[in-house]
Symmetry: C2
Subunit: 201 residues, 2 copies
C-alpha cells in the first residue's frame, strides 16, 4: 500500500533554498530522494522557509501555516531549521539573544510534537567567522534542548565549515547562501541521517 507522507519544512532562507539556481534546495532534494528510494512512498513537500526569519518570526507563524497543510489521518512530519538570523548583528544589536532563541525553540517544538513527528536540523556556517562562533554556540544549545525534549537533532555546522565546496559557493555568492552544489552536499548529509527509515516505512 502506498504511504502518503506529508512534510512541512519550517525555517529560514536555507530551508527556502535561497541561492540554489535549481530552486530545489536541500529540502526538495531530500523529498525527491526519499520518494525515489521506495516505490511505495509518496512525499508531499511543503517548503515554509522564509528569508530573514529568526526563531521569533517563526514562532509567530508556524502554527497556522502547519495547520493549513497537515491534517489528522495522514502520515505527517515537521522539520525545523533556523538560527543563523538570530545570530546576526544589525545596527549594533543582536537580532535574537540565545536565551530567547532557546525559549522560542522550546515553545515551538513542544507545541508541534503534540501533533506531529518532529525533527530539527542545526544552522549552517556562513562566510563570517565571528558570526560563525555564535552560530556554533547556538547549535550546541539547540542540540542540548532537543536531547532534553527527545527531538532528533542533526548538527551540520562542523561538516560544512570545513567543506571546500560549501565555503567557496557561500563566499562567491552573497556570504551566506551556497548555490546548488552546496545544497546538494547538505541534502546528502540529511539523507545519511538514521531517522528516515522509521519515518518512511
Amino acid at each position: 500500500m502506498t504511504k502518503d507522507l506529508r512534510i512541512c519544512f519550517v525555517g529560514d532562507s536555507f530551508v527556502n533554498g535561497t541561492g540554489d539556481e535549481t530552486k530545489l534546495g536541500w529540502t526538495g532534494r531530500v523529498c525527491a530522494a526519499l520518494e525515489a528510494s521506495d516505490s511505495d512512498l509518496e512525499v508531499t513537500f511543503y517548503n515554509l522557509g522564509v528569508r530573514r526569519d529568526t526563531s521569533e518570526d517563526i514562532r509567530r507563524r508556524f502554527n497556522q501555516e502547519i495547520s493549513a497543510r497537515l491534517q489528522a489521518g495522514f502520515d505527517t512530519l515537521v522539520v525545523f531549521s533556523f538560527g543563523v538570523n538570530d545570530t546576526t548583528i544589525e545596527n549594533g544589536v543582536l537580532r535574537v539573544d540565545s536565551e530567547r532563541s532557546i525559549d522560542n525553540t522550546r515553545a515551538l517544538l513542544l507545541e508541534v510534537a503534540e501533533q506531529h513527528p518532529v525533527l530539527m536540523v542545526g544552522p549552517p556556517p556562513i562566510a563570517d567567522e565571528e558570526q560563525n562562533n555564535r552560530i556554533q554556540a547556538l547549535d550546541t544549545e539547540f542540540a542540548q534542548l532537543c536531547s532534553e525534549l527527545n527531538v532528533p537533532y542533526l548538527s551540520v555546522f562542523d561538516g560544512l565549515v570545513c567543506n571546500p565546496v560549501w565555503r567557496e559557493e557561500v563566499t562567491s555568492n552573497d556570504g551566506a547562501h551556497p548555490h546548488s552544489a552546496g545544497y546538494s552536499i547538505l541534502s546528502e548529509r540529511l539523507l545519511s541521517w538514521d531517522v528516515w527509515e522509521a519515518l518512511v516505512t
Copy 2:
C-alpha cells in the same frame, strides 16, 4: 545591477506540484527558467500551494502567508492558481459554488493588487469529464473577472485537455495530478506568456 524578484505562488495541489517526482512542479521550473534567462536576475521562490485547498481555504490564509514573505522595498509578484477543488462534488455537494468562487477570487485579487503585482493562472483539466465541464466554466468566469480587474489571466485548460502527455500522466497517476512531464508542459505554457518581460526587467 542584480534584480531580486520575490514570487509567492498561492493555490492548490497543482501549485504545490503534487505528483511531480522531481518536486519542482511548474512553479519551481518557471522560477529556475526565469533566473537562467537573465544573468542579472535572482528569483526567490515561495510555494504556497496546499492540497485540497479551495478558493475559500485560500481566502482565509493568503494575506498572512504573503505578508510574512513579501515586504516593501523588494520587487515582488503574487501568482494565484486554484479552482479545481471548488468544482469537486463531495458527498453529493459541490465544495464551493461558482458564485462564491468568484466572490472569493475578487476579494483576494483586489486585496493583493493594492500591494503587489498579481497574475492568475487558470485551473487545469483532470481525468473526469463531468468535473472538467465545471472547471472549464469556472475558467471562463475567472477570465472575465480578471479582465474586469485588469489582472493578467492565463487559461491553460484548452491546451492541456487535448495534450496526450498531460492526459496520460493524470490518468495513470491519481486522476488529477500529472508527473514531471505534465508539469514541464504546464511550465512551458507559463513561460511563453507575454507577461514576464515587464516583470523581470
